[in-house]
């Protein structure tokens, strides 16, 4: 059920990016989609009652402790992927916003229905 809610978040973002006519709204829609995907990836790696995948002194004291860590640590791979994805989304956000600002300067509006020089 949590996955489905996460998918709902994704769909809200998609709706916003496809339907809305305001450039900033479209950017917001894309950001919401990115949050949803990131959240989905992290949720895939979660283990109920798990620990963060960071080893500290306590875990290395005995083989038993370490085995307990191995059996309860959450999956580090999706976390690494999400770290990458977050930075990518930050980069594309910066680029997208700079395009928006320049377009606003040229046209004086954020409304894409008024920005129609190019015929689809």
């Amino acid at each position: 059920m949590l996955y489905a809610l996460c998918f709902l978040l994704f769909m809200i973002g998609l709706y916003c990016a496809v339907v809305k006519k305001n450039m900033v709204k479209i950017v917001i829609g894309i950001m919401v989609m990115e949050y949803a995907v990131n959240l989905f990836l992290i949720m895939l790696g979660y283990r109920a009652g798990g620990e963060a995948p960071i080893i500290d002194k306590g875990h290395l004291e005995s083989a038993n402790e370490f085995a307990k860590f191995v059996s309860s640590s959450v999956d580090p791979l999706p976390q690494a992927l999400v770290l990458t994805a977050i930075v990518i989304s930050l980069g594309s956000l910066a680029l997208m916003i700079s395009i928006c600002i320049r377009t606003y300067e040229k046209y004086g509006t954020f409304d894409i229905t008024e920005i129609r020089r190019l015929k689809g």
């Binding site: 963060a52 960071i54 080893i55 500290d56 002194k57 290395l60 770290l83 977050i86 930075v87 930050l90 910066a94 916003i97 700079s98 600002i101 320049r102 300067e105 040229k106 046209y107 004086g108 509006t109 008024e114 920005i115 129609r116 020089r117």
Partner: protein, 166 residues
């Protein structure tokens, strides 16, 4: 929010209280960012988070004192060079792996020269070095983008929108 608005409309900086506090906090944020970068291989965080925090300390200064003040400390060309330097250092670590370890991105320090001791600051070979390079890169580039955006916003005069159908 209102204060920020004032700033981006071209008023130089904020009130004295904000300025004093942010000049103190700035140092703390900066040091915290450095800590996050350096201990990225032992505790949560790492190059990205730390780099963004370091960039954040400069952004705070920019919001509180105005753009010109920050520009005296860290000018745009310098930030751009630092950005390139960080990216280049990270690529260099990869290439050193090829040269010294036999494959791209081999952790040659850990495997050959400096194994270090687990859970110590000096451990994990090239991982802390990569963290530093990425931290430098991320801090410089985010500072750069926010700075460029603020210049653009300032030059723009809201009263005179250029209409598309001129």
């Amino acid at each position: 929010m209102a204060e920020k608005e004032k700033n981006s409309n071209g008023v130089k900086g904020m009130t004295v209280i904000v300025k004093t506090i942010s000049s103190w906090v700035k140092v703390l944020i900066f040091l915290f960012g450095i800590y996050i970068i350096l201990f990225g291989h032992l505790t949560p965080g790492g190059g990205f988070a730390g780099g963004v925090i370091v960039a954040g300390s400069y952004v705070l200064l920019m919001l509180a004192f105005g753009r010109e003040f920050v520009e005296e400390n860290l000018s745009l060309p310098v930030a751009s060079r630092l950005d390139c330097l960080g990216a280049f250092l990270f690529a260099l670590i990869a290439i050193l792996g090829l040269a010294l370890g036999g494959s791209f991105f081999v952790n040659f320090l850990y495997q050959k020269y400096l194994p270090g001791e687990a859970l110590n600051l000096i451990s994990a070979g090239t991982i802390p070095l990569s963290n530093i390079a990425i931290g430098l890169k991320v801090a410089a580039s985010l500072f750069l983008v926010i700075f460029t955006l603020s210049i653009c916003c300032k030059d723009f005069k809201p009263g005179t929108p250029v209409n598309g159908k001129e």
